[in-house]
């Protein structure tokens, strides 16, 4: 196993775990940002520059802002201590649910035929070819994602637009 890969995965998993354990929401949100940066480092290690920079731009730039704003704007009542499971049956049900999800994920990973051993040199892919691919065969997927994002944006605007009466003095 490659030293860099170990380092990056320790960074990602470590920051995610600590983020969950912290009580201060802002600190955990910022640690999540560290985790996303780790994923970007992972892409860089794998040689996919375009995806890595897109990851940093979108996650570290924008999504982190959304998370932090959400944490700030929602009412934080101080009474929110961690809910420890009050009865044994709740604990068991939580274990079963968690275990089930974990099982499905691990099963999927192990099930797919990945010939890890013959990982050839990373294909040198220029941005132009990625562009060509996106616009060519995968154009439909790109357009759908674009549509999805616009709808999400419009939804956000509708929620945020409070029906303030048009201020009279801005009538000029």
């Amino acid at each position: 196993m490659n030293l860099a890969l170990i380092l990056i995965s320790v960074l990602i998993l470590g920051s995610a775990a600590v983020a969950l354990a912290l009580r201060n929401l802002i600190h955990s949100a910022l640690l999540f940002v560290g985790c996303w940066a780790g994923i970007a480092a992972f892409y860089l290690w794998a040689g996919a520059e375009f995806v890595a920079f897109a990851q940093v731009l979108i996650y570290v730039g924008a999504v982190s802002m959304v998370v932090l704003f959400a944490v700030l704007l929602t009412r934080q009542s101080d009474a929110a201590e961690p809910m420890n499971p009050d009865s044994f049956s709740r604990f068991m049900r939580a274990l079963v649910a968690g275990g089930g999800v974990a099982g499905i994920l691990v099963g999927a990973i192990l099930g797919t035929p990945m010939d890890v051993s013959t990982a050839g040199p990373a294909p040198t892919l220029t941005v132009k070819e990625i562009g060509g691919q996106l616009m060519g065969p995968h154009a439909a997927a790109l357009l759908i994602v674009g549509l999805l994002l616009t709808v999400a944006l419009l939804g956000a605007v509708v929620i945020a637009a409070v029906d303030r009466p048009e201020k009279s003095e801005d009538a000029s």
């Binding site: 009412r75 409070v162 303030r164 009466p165 201020k167 009279s168 003095e169 801005d170 009538a171 000029s172």
Partner: protein
């Protein structure tokens, strides 16, 4: 949501806080922000307790008194002449016209007459002070609008020339202490008069350059037009005077109404605004400066020779007969009045100043409701207050 349109009569408005009840969770609680007294843009020690709903002002309480120096009580224990230097400290941007207002009140009290040359000199100095004051105001207004000092320094470059004239005449740049009861203290030399008229002649070219730089500026239009609208009825009820009142379209200028001094001899016009917003108040000052230049040019042409002091006037041991008098004039900020009650002793029994800045400040809240914090700063700048006069 409160817009200025729905504000009730000003006195009702000022009594209680009209805070909206919080109903839906999205509108969080209101943010109480205290701006001042030590704040870069409040023109001296003046505080505004602003209650914000997000960016919009819901309630604004002006707090002043930090510069109170007990001016009127001190005046009751000083001779009439002794109070004259203190009047410079009232509105420290226009000390010549404040001196004249005080001298006017004392002359009305003691029945002194003023020779013609002194009357002309008083008008020349009052109009020069109006130029200084309006140039300062316009400079500070642009500073509040956010330029990094450039328009302010251009304005101050012109102000320095006029202030140097005051220094050459009265001995001090801002604390002139120039007028006396019955005339003026120093007779200007011909070189002084030549320098003053040269300055006045090329003042309009400075104004043209200033206006070309800023009056058409899109950001200026966006930031000031429709901001801080003042309704003429409210202005009259609150006793507002000066350019702030004329910007709302009310034709009230003491130079025409009272016709004190030799003003009826000069022809000049009074600009009036239609919208009463910050842009109109800014343009009032610019147009008034152009009118003052016309008055000054006529005054320099017709300045007669002769004594500058009424020979009967006594400098010391001045004891006006018991009685009262109220002398007022159109200072650059509005109607500045001095009420004097004499009991025959060398000290006035009661000495009261009608400060235009303080009275123009009463409607600050009504103008700022519904605007953002940035607008409140600009509206305050457009009212042109000087804390020396507000707090006395």
């Amino acid at each position: 949501m409160i817009g200025t349109g729905s504000a009730p009569s000003p006195f009702g408005q000022l009594s209680g806080p009209t805070v909206r009840k919080v109903k839906d969770p999205f509108h969080g609680d209101l943010l109480e922000v205290s701006m001042g007294p030590q704040h870069p843009s409040t023109h001296g020690v003046f505080r505004m307790d602003v209650t914000l709903d997000g960016e919009v002002i819901v309630k604004l309480k002006p707090v002043f008194g930090y510069l109170h120096r007990n001016h009127e009580k001190i005046a009751e224990n000083t001779s009439y002449l002794g109070s004259m230097p203190y009047t410079d400290r009232l509105d420290y941007l226009s000390s010549m016209s404040t001196n004249w207002a005080y001298a006017l009140a004392v002359e009305k009290l003691a029945g002194l007459t003023v020779p013609d040359r002194a009357q002309y000199l008083r008008i020349i100095l009052a109009e020069l002070t109006r130029l200084v004051n309006h140039v300062c105001l316009v400079g500070f207004l642009f500073n509040d609008l956010g330029t990094s000092f450039t328009p302010l320094l251009y304005a101050f470059r012109e102000r320095e020339k006029i202030i140097d004239l005051f220094e050459a005449l009265s001995g001090s740049r801002m604390m002139c202490n120039y007028q006396r009861f019955g005339g003026c203290r120093v007779d200007p030399t011909p070189e002084w008069l030549a320098a003053a008229s040269r300055l006045v002649d090329n003042f309009p070219s400075f104004l043209d350059e200033y206006e070309s730089m800023l009056t058409g500026n899109e950001i200026m239009l966006a930031r000031t037009q429709g901001v801080g609208r003042l309704d003429p009825k409210h202005a009259i009820n609150a006793g507002i005077t000066g350019p702030v009142l004329r910007a709302s379209g009310v034709n009230y200028d003491l130079r025409k109404v009272d016709g004190y001094g030799f003003y009826p001899r000069f022809d000049f016009r009074i600009p009036l605004g239609d919208h009463g917003d910050t842009y109109d108040r800014y343009m009032m000052r610019i147009l008034e400066m152009r009118e003052s230049v016309k008055i000054l040019q006529q005054a320099f042409r017709e300045l007669p020779a002769g004594p500058i002091m009424d020979p009967k006037a006594k400098l010391r041991g001045f004891r006006p007969k018991p009685g009262e008098a109220y002398g007022r004039l159109e200072s650059p900020k509005g109607e500045l009045g001095f009420y004097l009650l004499s009991d025959g002793s060398p000290n006035p029994y009661r000495y009261r100043v009608r400060p235009p800045s303080l009275i123009n400040l009463t409607l600050l809240e009504e103008m700022c409701l519904g605007h953002t914090v940035a607008d409140a700063v600009v509206i305050l700048g457009s009212i042109d207050i000087v804390l020396g006069e507000v707090d006395r």
